[in-house]
């Protein structure tokens, strides 16, 4: 086919597109992933029984804030990486600084605790379920975000996959926090972080293969 014929063909039909497609599709994927994760928590895992009392504890909100901040930074990165040529941008550096701050507070918490309690405030009682369930609750969001990204046009596929993983993880971990009754910062800094790192790594691993578009 001649190139002019191709151009004529492409222009022969509706060319108009509504602005904001990237934001819409990413937000829709987050909503789908979050809704599935919330459904699983409500139906299978149950909310923590003392939720009504826990909402008065600052630690409850801090535990929720960590994944929410991860999701907020990651959604900026995903929206940028979803476009041709897009880079994650400054959110990576901001996230790194915040991670260092979180780690510093966690270390201080451990250091200030009586020697006999140190292990307990780091390990808690649900370390393994935390990592496994945060990862599991992130998977629906990761799948939905991959579908969305395939309809967009990322060109840095590994970074886009990692950002999608981090976004899904932030949403999944925030919803898991409604079930989890651990109330120490070191626990969040270690096990929530690990649980969120797994989907991010998975996204980075799968991105180059699964986010290809043509």
């Amino acid at each position: 086919m001649k190139t002019e014929a191709l151009i004529a063909m492409l222009a022969n039909g509706p060319v108009q597109v509504a602005p904001g497609a990237v934001a819409r599709r990413v937000l829709a994927a987050v909503a789908v992933g979050g809704a599935v994760a919330l459904g699983v928590v409500l139906a299978a895992l149950r909310l923590r029984p003392d939720l009504a009392a826990a909402v008065h504890a600052p630690m409850f909100w801090l535990k929720l804030a960590v994944p929410v901040v991860v999701a907020a930074l990651a959604i900026v990165a995903v929206r940028r990486l979803a476009r041709p040529g897009g880079r994650a941008g400054p959110v990576v550096a901001i996230g790194a600084v915040l991670a260092v701050v979180l780690a510093a507070f966690a270390v201080a918490d451990v250091a200030l605790a009586p020697a006999g309690e140190r292990a307990a405030i780091v390990l808690g009682r649900t370390a393994l379920p935390c990592v496994v369930l945060v990862t599991a609750l992130s998977l629906p969001g990761l799948a939905a975000l991959f579908v969305a990204l395939r309809s967009l046009a990322p060109t840095r596929l590994r970074a886009a996959g990692a950002a999608a993983g981090a976004l899904a993880a932030g949403v999944g971990a925030a919803i898991y926090a409604l079930h989890c009754n651990e109330m120490t910062l070191p626990f969040v800094a270690v096990w929530y972080a690990l649980g969120m790192a797994v989907p991010a790594a998975l996204g980075a691993l799968l991105g180059p293969r699964w986010l290809r578009w043509s």
């Binding site: 190139t3 060319v15 108009q16 597109v17 476009r83 041709p84 040529g85 967009l152």
Partner: protein, 183 residues
């Protein structure tokens, strides 16, 4: 650079708000830039250039909803062109794919300045043809560029029809070799 950016960008914005004539202009001019950019990168396989131009125009069309109206256009176009080029090279020659991947943002100037309007292309080709001896050059000019038949070309030059055909064939090969050497 600003001129190209502004002209193409305003054409695309018009197109995205429903002006299909602006879209034809946008794709045609973008195609010219792509052609020239790919031609440099694919000098060893010139047959792939037009295919890749078409593939890229198709990708631009299918992914046009990912262009942010407030953003610059050329980085967006270049990222798509480079993505498609790497895709093609990955299948042919993984090493060259890595080279292009490493170009990163340097190649963007090449895409912007790559002005392959048909006129420019013909001038370029004319220069290349001058390097060929008459027995190759005349058959190509008469048959391939002016569109005459082999018989007419034979009559006009006094060369036999068989020699015209051989001249076209060898001449085009020689041209490809010259282009490849220029890289």
């Amino acid at each position: 650079m600003e001129d190209v950016e502004e002209a193409l960008r305003s054409a695309l914005l018009l197109a995205l708000s429903g002006d299909n004539e602006a879209y034809v202009a946008f794709l045609t001019r973008t195609g010219a830039h792509l052609r020239s950019y790919f031609r440099r990168r694919l000098a060893s396989s010139p047959n792939d250039v037009e295919d890749l131009v078409q593939e890229t125009l198709l990708a631009i069309h299918n992914r046009r909803h990912t262009f942010e109206p407030t953003a610059r256009l050329m980085p967006w176009l270049y990222a798509i062109a480079r993505y498609k080029l790497i895709d093609l090279l990955r299948a042919q020659s993984p090493r060259r794919a890595i080279e292009v991947a490493l170009d990163d943002d340097e190649g963007i100037a090449e895409l912007v300045h790559a002005d392959a309007s048909p006129a420019e292309t013909r001038r370029d080709l004319a220069k290349l043809l001058d390097a060929l001896p008459d027995r190759y050059r005349l058959p190509i000019v008469l048959v391939k560029l002016e569109g005459r038949s082999v018989a007419e070309a034979a009559q006009a030059t006094g060369i036999s029809q068989a020699a015209i055909k051989v001249g076209i064939h060898r001449g085009l090969k020689k041209l490809a070799a010259i282009v490849a050497k220029r890289r």
